[in-house]
Symmetry: C2
Subunit: 442 residues, 2 copies
């Protein structure tokens, strides 16, 4: 019986598995380091205390429970033996007839890995809840400090990277400051918080139409966000950021720039580009190995337009479904066809009532664009229950301007400086040891 | 203008603050180490992946935002200067005219603080999510291990303490094993999980009627829980527990026995009993200081029945409201009256469709009792949105036997033993450094 091994339970892995579910005479094993599938486009909502983790994530084995030919194993694949047709994971080995690598991407700090401690990225739930804690804690610290310089630093938030993720984070912090938290504090005016979005290039949202990007800038400014272009960060430390000769004192810095693929591709001896993405053929296989595929953010696919496909959710979803179809067809003796991406466009939200959206020649902005964004994301959200909960949570939050999940949980994070001596231990890092990247998602 | 300082944002603090909200010419400051108020009776639901943290917790400053005379400060009170009428917190000092200490209780391990690492208690969200992680991880480890002895240990869960909290935790794990996870695994039969509830005394639920307690035992056994009475734990380590000469190999041990009050009472030089509870007068004040009150789990009140009032939510709520009324009356020149607790009874659930309930002479069990429990807890859950979300979450979970929040997030926890070499770091502890206790809650 042919065996398919899928490494990664994200958009590629989940869709590939579903497409192979209950196919007769086929055994599928999916391995992931996390027990849950994450709907990454909404991860910034968790980071900004708008949604709870369980509203955008579901256990992988639950999602695949109905397919008796699929088993899910929680673990980490550490290397691939191409000749021996097996993957080596922390719990043991798995042999395969077909292998799909879809381990995604992580943040990169342009060689400055020491920045990671001070500027978390947004790629998984641990980081999202860490960011949430830092942002909420900053307001609490600002409320109780008597030092005006400290207060100013606590009320300064810097987001590095002007792609969709950075725009969404900055807009959400601006909106939180101006609306959600407005009445909750007595010593600070949360609306006085400074939110600065730093982009190294000449404009934010470089992949979008210029006018849409300009509209986004105006919408951000309405939420109190300052957009600094041509501002490449040269240093990040506990006190803030440096942009060349300039310095911003900020308690909270978030990283939404710089991306690199999972190191597994390189570890497996595959040919990768500078960002670690594995170069794949038109059918997503690796050169010389028809039964090994790489897809999603981990792959570099240039055969359609000459340019790499972006690391976005629709690309990953389509590639996952394509691979399932390819394997089913091949088992039935049919030939392969190349992968073709059907471009569904790109979107970015600014706060809870504005967005910019571009699909081919269609360009939308404002509230209409946000409604379209809402419908699309709810549609794709995995699982009916999640959809219902998310709609309810947002409806509540939208009508009342309250953010639903404003909890500070777990490790505290404190700035060095006039230390607040507390019994709980300050910790400035988080659990994942590798640098992680953020990839622009619609 | 008189100042009231409230230390602790639990049931006492929140209700006291609300009772003093918008009272003219009164300034209230509430301090808590967490930014959120926690509905503790439902904490075990978070631990058992039935609810998300945000469904049972809300930011304190949100709950009190509408009262302009109340400010909320996030911080930790470290000592009390009774003569100088001030509390010293990590962020500075606060002077008071009235002081309410309501810091709650924490776990105690009968002198064996080293047990805490292996047997977390359930008193806050950090512990609840840690327990959730350990329980879910145990199933994942069982699924992927090839060693039968390991599998057995991973599928063995021990709950120490036969009060309501222990009963609720054990019943929930039993139910999760038999129903929720039944179809999700391929190598294990989750229903074969062993759940053992250890009680040192002659029976579980010692404060309940004997017949109700016997009914609870039968309901637990239907969920696959073994109830061991007269079984005092003598040792807990990474491999399991010892009960005298017997030994149980268990990957997951949960602590629901042993309680001690917050150390602040003793630190402030107040008279405390052996469990650290502050001895209070009939009006909840401390001897010799009419303007300093201690209430909730942190207080020892024996004036009504000769026995201490239990550390439960209704006691705390009523005391909080009482104190607000006392202060309001006193400011209007009226005399004090002693505190009288209106006993609302006690309850404990067993799984999601059974409970035992005792109010005075009324004794209920089975599904009817569970319905009453449901209505009562939803009614008292803070905030309309939370209520609606919780009802929806439970309705979904009840109808589909799925548990809504089965996410493994954050630090991994691994047993020592044939170590799984992974890149992420194992961590056997969690963030709070002080031992925490669990207090029987209805």
């Amino acid at each position: 019986m042919p065996k398919v091994v899928i490494v990664g339970g994200g958009f590629v892995g989940l869709n590939a598995a579903k497409g192979l579910g209950n196919v007769s005479n086929l055994e599928v094993t999916l391995v992931d380091r996390a027990n849950h599938h994450l709907f990454q486009p909404l991860l910034y909502q968790v980071a900004m205390a708008g949604l709870s983790p369980a509203e955008i994530a579901a256990p992988i084995r639950s999602l695949l429970a109905r397919y008796r030919n699929i088993r899910v194993l929680w673990g980490e694949v550490q290397s691939v033996d191409l000749a021996g047709r097996r993957v080596i994971a922390d719990f043991g080995e798995l042999t395969y007839d077909y292998l799909i690598l879809a381990c995604g991407a992580r943040h990169a700090y342009f060689g400055h890995d020491d920045w990671e401690e001070f500027a978390p990225g947004l790629k998984n739930l641990e980081q999202a809840t860490e960011i949430r804690r830092r942002v909420l804690t900053a307001y609490e610290e600002a409320e109780r400090t008597k030092d005006p310089a400290h207060r100013k630093r606590y009320l300064t938030f810097v987001v590095v990277g002007g792609g969709p993720t950075g725009v969404e984070l900055a807009g959400a912090i601006g909106e939180m400051s101006r609306f959600t938290l407005a009445k909750d504090f007595r010593h600070i005016d949360a609306a006085q918080a400074r939110v600065v979005l730093l982009e190294a290039g000449p404009r934010i949202l470089p992949t979008f139409d210029e006018q849409l990007a300009a509209r986004a800038v105006r919408d951000l400014e309405h939420l109190g966000v300052q957009v600094w272009t041509q501002s490449a960060v040269t240093k990040i430390d506990a006190h803030g950021v440096e942009i060349g000769a300039e310095r911003l004192a900020a308690a909270t810095v978030l990283w939404a720039a710089g991306v690199t693929a999972s190191p597994l591709g390189k570890q497996a001896g595959l040919e990768v580009d500078r960002q670690g993405r594995v170069i794949v053929e038109p059918d997503l296989s690796i050169p010389g190995r028809l039964n090994v595929f790489v897809a999603g953010d981990q792959a570099l696919f240039t055969h359609q337009t000459g340019q790499p496909l972006p690391g976005t959710a629709p690309v990953a979803m389509q590639q996952g479904r394509y691979l399932a179809r390819l394997i089913r067809r091949e088992l039935a003796g049919k030939p392969r066809v190349p992968f073709r991406f059907a471009d569904k466009g790109q979107m970015a939200t600014i706060g809870r009532s504005r967005a910019v959206l571009e699909i081919g020649k269609l360009k939308l902005s404002g509230f209409v664009a946000w409604l379209v964004w809402l419908v699309v994301h709810i549609y794709y959200l995995t699982g009916f229950k999640n959809r219902l909960l998310v709609v309810m949570q947002w409806a509540w939050s939208y009508l009342s301007f309250r953010r639903g999940a404003r909890l500070i949980v777990s490790k505290e994070w404190r700035l060095p400086g006039p230390a607040s001596p507390t019994a709980t231990q300050p910790a400035a890092g988080w659990s994942s040891p590798e640098p992680i990247s953020t990839q622009a998602k619609p």
